[in-house]
Amino acid sequence: MNASEAPAPLFHFRGARLGHGRETVFPALDLTVRRGETVALLGPSGSGKSTLLAALRRQRETLCAWCPQEQALVPMLSVFHNIYMGGLHRFGTWRNLRALVHPTAAQRDSVAAVAESLGLAEKLFTSVDRLSGGQAQRTALGRALFTERPVLLADEPVSNLDEHQGLALLRDTLRRHDSAVVAMHDRALALACFERVIGLRHGETVLDAPSASLTLDDLDRLYLP
């Protein structure tokens, strides 16, 4: 393929060393993700999914909506405020502070629309510490959606939801972003929702293929001891 025909690379690593401080997770990573792709990251725990996601985010901070695994919600605040938090950068500080004390009708509507699509409309003004694990996870996803950035980076965003709900939410979320890299553990869901699958093991990409060419058995091999 001619380089000028392909869309510009969104993320690009060539022989990159990734890790935390002195600890190396990826000794030499080669990876390119282009604008418009949806990528599922698979691999056993400790294979480097979260490290890779963090590195991707650092490359394109202003383009990325971020949904980390440790949801990092503010438990004593309402679903409304936790979702609104994703959009803090879009508004002025005084407007944000006002929303904390007394949100306007317009602010309530825009957040309510996100909450509704996640099935959280009923809980909009309830604090997160009073929600179930699945509801909290959907709130974290809502916060990422409300960032309104084109590239989704998410770490197991639907792991606490049942299959059907997970599938529906994931499809809906992907539709709202033009590109995505999402760490997954549900292999079937990964094949069903993403165009490309990258398999990681011990800090190496051992699999990188279009999901249409893969079967569940191919993916299972990633997890064999």
Partner: protein
């Protein structure tokens, strides 16, 4: 489009409501408080104090070494005695009478104990030591008692049941709390150094005595030097306070200033059986006369004293809260840069280390007598303490990688997460604010301490006793309310230092 505002059923909403009511009470207190600057030219006096602080004169005070040694000696002996007594009391912490007794002795400020004891033991080492040891015994009893309550009971339960309870205590209970007790005693020694210095204000020969004289006479450079010496003592404490050296320090303290009883038993008996007895009873008046006496005392002294103490305390609580919220980001790793954090740390250390009583005294000199110096002093000192504790707590927060910065981070991510701790710190400190508010009266601010000090000056110790009992009642009341509120809001600072 005007829709009704939504009702938030959030955990934060409960804290917000409680804070709203406390804030309202604080605002009302500010409205009622006498905030007048009575000094003609406060700016000029402030300049002179500021110049003094910049040019400390360490050679001006005669007998400086003696005052320094006394300050240390009183503090060491007071803490040793208080810790020992408190430890014994803590063993019986499950008894209601012990808890009530401990609460009462610690509700009386060191300075009030000093004023009372002085009538029997004079201006002696014993007075200084006991003035510290008595309230500290109550504080130690509470803290050690709570350590014991919260310690894991499993090791003691696992031992075979026999009657040798003492052995079980030393093997299965004490080791669990030993480290906490040691750390807390070290912290208390720091407080005792400040208390010992403050006792100089009622005439005991410690740093505070010279400091008061120097500032009152306008020798600000000399006063500043004394203040810096106190800083030096407190801030270097952790370098020279070593467990192995403790016996040496204690022996040195005892030999420098032996706490010998110099008064006569007669004085003690007369003081308790005559001086402290209400005048009408002493003069063989009946109960009716006693009521009249109490009524007059209430309307002339206790009533106004309690009111002023409450007003000043509540206003100081509001200022404390606001200052703590503004100051804690200054030293929290989540905000600012290395320079701003260094500066914040410095400001907080200075404000925390200067006793609120000294701060009030300085403001009083600069602004003249009103409630303003007291409110400023208590607010700054306690605000710095709570800011420090809150900032320390914020070190444990981990924010997500894309968390906002600046004011957005403060309001959305940080404040909600540490608000329960902040509120708990504040409510715990309220009792201490009230204790200190009462004692500021000795400086001439019309809180309960003012009437206590005047009654001592007039040798009307029967009044002194009733007034001190009133401060105890007020403290216990505020403490009970604060405990109720903390329970209602489910706030706890378990495992974190608050005093």
């Amino acid at each position: 489009m005007n829709r009704p505002a939504p009702t938030f059923t959030t955990t934060a909403a409960g804290w917000r409501r409680a804070s709203g009511w406390l804030g309202l009470a604080g605002l009302i207190a500010f409205a009622c408080a006498d905030l007048e600057v009575t000094r003609g030219d406060p700016g000029e006096e402030m300049m002179r104090v500021g110049l003094g602080l910049l040019r400390p004169d360490f050679l001006a005070t005669e007998g400086l070494g003696r005052a320094l040694a006394n300050t240390l000696a009183f503090a060491f002996q007071g803490v040793a005695l208080g810790a020992a007594a408190g430890f014994l009391l803590a063993l019986f912490w499950h008894r209601r009478a012990v808890r009530a007794g401990a609460a009462s002795v610690r509700a009386v400020h060191e300075l009030f104990w000093g004023l009372l004891l002085m009538q029997v033991t004079g201006l002696s080492t014993l007075t200084g030591v006991l003035a510290i040891a008595l309230p500290y015994a109550g504080i130690f009893a509470k803290v050690f008692g709570e350590f014991l309550e919260e310690a894991d009971p499993a090791p003691a339960v696992a031992l075979p049941d026999d009657r040798r309870r003492l052995g079980r205590f030393f093997y299965a209970r004490l080791p669990l709390i030993w480290a906490s007790c040691k750390a807390y005693t070290g912290y208390r020694l720091e407080c005792a150094l400040r208390a010992s210095a403050i006792l100089g204000f009622i005439g005991l020969p410690t740093l505070g005595f010279h400091l008061e004289t120097a500032f009152r006479e306008g020798h600000y450079g000399e006063g500043a030097a004394l203040l810096y010496l106190l800083f030096l003592l407190v801030l270097t404490l952790r370098f020279w306070l070593r467990p192995l050296l403790l016996p040496v320090y204690l022996l040195a303290a005892l030999s420098w200033a032996p706490p010998v009883w110099t008064g006569s038993l007669q004085t003690l008996v007369r003081f308790v059986t005559e001086d402290l007895v209400p005048a009408p009873l002493k003069n063989d008046g009946g109960v009716a006369e006693l009521w009249v006496w109490l009524g007059t005392l209430w309307s002339e002294q206790i009533g106004p004293g309690v009111w002023h103490t409450l007003v000043l305390g509540l206003a100081a609580l509001l200022l404390t809260a606001l200052l703590a919220l503004v100051l804690f980001p200054l030293r929290s790793p989540l905000f600012g840069n290395r320079v701003s954090r260094g500066l914040g740390h410095f400001i907080l250390v200075v404000l925390r280390t200067t006793p609120e009583f000294f701060l009030a005294f300085f403001f009083l000199i600069m602004l003249g007598p009103s409630m303003l110096p007291g409110i400023l002093a208590l607010g700054l000192h306690t605000g710095a303490i709570i800011a420090h504790l809150t900032a320390r707590f914020s070190e444990g927060l981990t924010l997500r990688d894309d968390s906002p910065r600046g004011l957005n981070r403060y309001a959305f991510e940080v404040l909600p997460r540490l608000y329960p701790n902040f509120l708990a710190f504040l409510l715990y400190r309220w009792e201490i604010i009230m204790r200190e508010t009462a004692v500021l009266g000795i400086l001439g601010i019309h809180t309960l301490g003012f009437y206590i000090d005047s009654s001592v000056a007039e040798f009307r110790f029967d009044r002194t006793l009733v007034l001190i009992l009133a401060t105890v009642g007020l403290n216990l009341g505020v403490d009970a309310f604060s405990r109720w509120l903390r329970g209602r809001l489910r706030l706890s600072t378990r495992g974190q230092p608050v005093e």
